[in-house]
């Protein structure tokens, strides 16, 4: 899933400063699962913002709605009375926020979260990055462990000199992905794979302005 973190209430307060009627919109998919932008978090953030504004003697009306997905017009269409508000704060990932912005081009649509990564749900409330969406998957070469996402330098041919007892040089007790890959390939009796040089990556496939068009599949 896509993992996001809530923006600090000070930042939300600052970006919504000049609006008195705000619609806060949650997303029922990824940001709900990572406990950042679901119905509950919309309510928490709206309450915090109301309080913050009240302290300064500025009343604010905040509407709360959560739809199943913000990355799909089909669900965005379910939003109600949007034009009663002056601005929308979206608690979806960057794709969802932009979906809302496209649907309501005349309204300011503001991000309520910082979208972080494509991750795995390790345990309740703990997520780790697993995929960089590089557009050219090599997990079959690396024992099912992605060095693009999990090695700090995105190396393709083994650990750098900074690896320390299986930990990454950037610290924070992060695992060295290439130590994990080595151990995995060893377990699978496939160290031969480790010794194969992986060529430089085609970053054109990871470039900006990407799209996928299945409509052309039949051509």
């Amino acid at each position: 899933m896509i993992v996001a973190e809530p923006k600090k209430i000070e930042e939300i307060k600052q970006m919504t400063d000049k609006f008195d009627r705000i619609l806060m919109v949650g997303c029922g998919t990824c940001t709900t699962v990572c406990l950042t932008g679901g119905e509950r978090e919309v309510n928490l953030m709206a309450t915090a913002l109301r309080l913050a504004r009240k302290v300064e003697g500025q009343d604010v009306e905040i509407g709360e709605q959560t739809i199943l997905r913000q990355c799909d017009f089909e669900y965005i269409d379910e939003l109600k009375d949007v034009h009663n508000y002056q601005a929308i704060v979206s608690l979806a990932c960057g794709a969802g926020i932009q979906g809302i912005a496209r649907k309501f081009p005349e309204m300011p649509v503001l991000p309520g979260v910082n979208t972080k990564f494509i991750g795995f749900n390790e345990e309740f409330g703990y997520y780790t990055e697993q995929c960089k969406a590089c557009g050219d998957c090599i997990l079959h070469l690396t024992g099912g462990i992605c060095p693009i996402a999990r090695c700090a330098k995105g190396l393709l041919n083994g650990p750098c000199g900074g690896t320390n007892n299986g930990k990454c040089e950037i610290g924070g007790d992060k695992d060295c992905a290439w130590t994990l890959i080595y151990n995995q390939l060893e377990r699978q009796g496939n160290l031969k794979q480790f010794k194969e040089i992986i060529a430089a990556k085609d970053f054109a496939k990871a470039g900006n302005i990407r799209s996928m068009d299945l409509r052309k599949a039949g051509d």
Binding site: L155, G162, T163, I197, A199
Partner: protein, 288 residues
């Protein structure tokens, strides 16, 4: 005699390194280089070492040439993409730089511009392949060069890395990718280094053991705590701690290490980190 020729001839080769300064005052660096002239075969020029921004390696390598000292141009993949790396390599070639040490580079978050975007478009193994290609007369995209390069490319290896096996496998990949010499991370555990050389010697690639000048017991403890792949044994730390002149003791220890390594590998690479003027003393202590 040049670096490549000295290694080919089987001489015990001494290299040291010079760190480009931050700023345009190069007087101290030039002083260090002149102190080392004639004492070492070649001098490494570090590339934004520890991810700290300094004068460009290419400029300083050219200054070394002008001063009559052979540079080993260190090139990391942290700050430039494949266009930048190749174009700098071509630039180095026309300036007369022969030796390149291909490195991945420390992560940006360890340096003094922590918010920088780390590049790592390529890494050390792939950079070696690229240099091989330039030597053959084509760039990474397969385009023919008008005039090819003639680089002597090298790489680094950490004989005391933990875990060691993945590091050794990468060492083998670097050889396959075209590394013609190696300089190692600081070596303190002679036994481990022997074990490494026993496995590495079959590849017939000259290896220069890293000698890192210990300036105090505190520095040794710092290295053990914070620098990957370095483990200074307790006896050495004790020796430094008991000494009234720790720097002189460090020089003595480095000289002793070089003597111990003399018949083990192709040479040594001395890292004095700001105390380059001590390198002649280290060599004297080593009996060189």
């Amino acid at each position: 005699m040049g670096f490549k020729e000295a290694l080919a001839k089987g001489e015990f080769v001494i290299t040291a390194e010079v760190g480009p300064p931050k700023g345009t005052d190069i007087s101290e660096m030039v002083h260090h280089v002149e102190a080392l002239k004639g004492k070492v075969t070649a001098l490494n020029v570090t590339d934004n070492q520890s991810a700290v921004m300094r004068i460009s390696t290419l400029a300083v390598s050219k200054i070394l040439l002008d001063l009559g000292v052979e540079p080993i141009y260190q090139m990391t993949c942290r700050d430039r993409n494949r266009l930048g790396l190749q174009s700098d390599l071509l630039g180095a070639a026309v300036l007369g730089i022969k030796n390149v040490l291909a490195l991945t580079g420390d992560h940006t978050t360890l340096g003094d511009h922590k918010s920088a975007k780390p590049v790592f478009d390529l890494e050390s193994v792939q950079l070696l392949q690229v240099i091989q290609g330039l030597n053959e007369g084509h760039d990474m995209a397969g385009n023919a060069l008008k005039g090819k390069t003639d680089f002597f490319a090298g790489a680094i290896v950490t004989p005391e890395a933990n875990p060691f096996e993945p590091q050794f496998a990468k060492f083998e990949k670097k050889i396959e990718a075209g590394a013609k010499f190696f300089q190692t991370q600081a070596v303190y555990d002679i036994k481990k280094f022997h074990a490494f050389m026993d496995r590495a010697s079959k590849y017939n690639v000259p290896i220069l053991a890293g000698i890192l000048l210990l300036k105090s017991a505190g520095m040794a403890r710092f290295l053990n705590k914070f620098v990957a792949g370095i483990s200074v044994p307790d006896e050495l730390i004790q020796e430094l701690a008991n000494s009234e002149k720790p720097l002189a003791k460090g020089v003595e220890i480095a000289g002793r290490q070089i003597r111990e390594l003399r018949n083990v590998c192709a040479g040594v690479h001395i890292m004095a980190i700001g105390a380059e003027d001590k390198v002649p003393d280290i060599l004297a202590a080593a009996g060189i």
